[in-house]
């Protein structure tokens, strides 16, 4: 039984976290990893497609609005419809909402600042495959870096996300309390990451690939590997 996932990382003009993700999946996890130019249309070789962070097409018009029309996106939709994994990080999350693979939208941070920080997240819906490797953990800490990360959806959509347990990460304090003070960008319901109803498409503003290198970790309790667990979770889900 294979103990790896085949990873394809989409490179749009303006993506800038593609190589960071590739470093994690290829160098740290030793999974077969391919960078895919946004004009690629055949994704049949891959278990996991990652839409990385960055500023695709300069974020012109709206973040992710133009990337949605890249040739690869039709294949990403087919990949998602087949039940395979799709992970959108930061700009990738914005692209997934623009492509309607996830509901809602990401708008300008409430206080207008571009935020580069590490934030605590409460793990929700721990039955979802993406969170299987976190064990008893209920609070993790991951880096964020965005100017347009304020999650917005209408009231009905929010109610649906809550009812279907599609919210995987909420901004919280170190104890896991979801409070207005722990919300860095004004996201409704403190939402930092959501999945589709089936659970195979995840979009998140925090960067798991930036908390995944054992060389930068002092101890398991310092949160420096909290992002690696996300990738490892998929392996558990995929190969049991």
């Amino acid at each position: 039984m294979s103990r790896t996932l085949n990873v394809g990382i989409v490179v749009f003009p303006g993506s800038n976290c593609d190589r960071d993700v590739a470093y994690v999946t290829s160098e740290i996890l030793r999974w077969p990893t391919q960078l895919l130019w946004h004009e690629e249309t055949n994704l049949s070789d891959y278990d996991l497609i990652v839409l990385p962070g960055g500023f695709s097409f300069g974020d012109y018009l709206r973040c992710g609005a133009i990337a949605r029309f890249s040739p690869i996106m039709a294949a990403v939709k087919d990949h998602a419809a087949a039940g395979k994994w799709v992970l959108g990080i930061c700009n990738g999350f914005q692209i997934l909402t623009e492509a309607k693979l996830l509901p809602g939208a990401l708008v300008r941070n409430q206080h207008l600042h571009f935020i580069c920080d590490r934030v605590y997240l409460r793990l929700e819906a721990k039955e979802r495959p993406w969170l299987q490797a976190y064990g008893d953990k209920t609070v993790i800490r991951l880096p964020i870096a965005h100017g347009e990360g304020c999650y917005y959806a209408d009231v009905a959509t929010l109610a649906e996300l809550e009812a279907n347990r599609q919210i995987l990460f909420r901004y919280a304090d170190a104890q896991g309390n979801v409070t207005p003070d722990s919300n860095p960008n004004g996201s409704l319901n403190n939402i930092a990451g959501i999945c589709n109803p089936a659970g195979n498409v995840l979009g998140m503003m925090p960067h798991p690939e930036r908390a995944a290198d054992p060389a930068l970790s002092h101890s398991p309790s310092d949160h420096t590997l909290d992002g690696l667990q996300l990738f490892k979770s998929l392996l558990n889900a995929a190969v049991g």
């Binding site: 018009l61 809602g104 207008l112 004004g186």
Partner: protein
């Protein structure tokens, strides 16, 4: 075929916060115009296009605005179309 000039006005839905608008409003107040009660910032996209008639142009512009220029989840749009005088022949 006729030539048209169009403007698409894209604005945030009232239910979506516009922090940039609030910041500009604060600037206007500092300028002394404290009677300004709200500011919302949107986009104007100007397009020139060729189409058979005005109705065709409007239908195409509506599709372009709905699919790309505006995100219906957070924004609404309004279109103005003006027919340009035919080029001298």
């Amino acid at each position: 075929m006729a030539q048209f000039q169009a403007r698409v006005f894209v604005t945030l839905r009232p239910s979506v916060l516009d922090p940039a608008g609030v910041a500009v409003q604060a600037g206007i107040h500092h300028l002394g115009y404290t009677n300004v009660q709200s500011v919302r910032i949107g986009k104007v996209v100007e397009l020139n296009l060729e189409a058979r008639d005005r109705a065709t142009a409007e239908a195409q512009l509506t599709q372009i605005a709905d699919q790309l220029l505006a995100n219906p989840v957070i924004e609404t749009f309004r279109i103005e179309v003006q027919e340009l005088a035919a080029a001298a022949g």
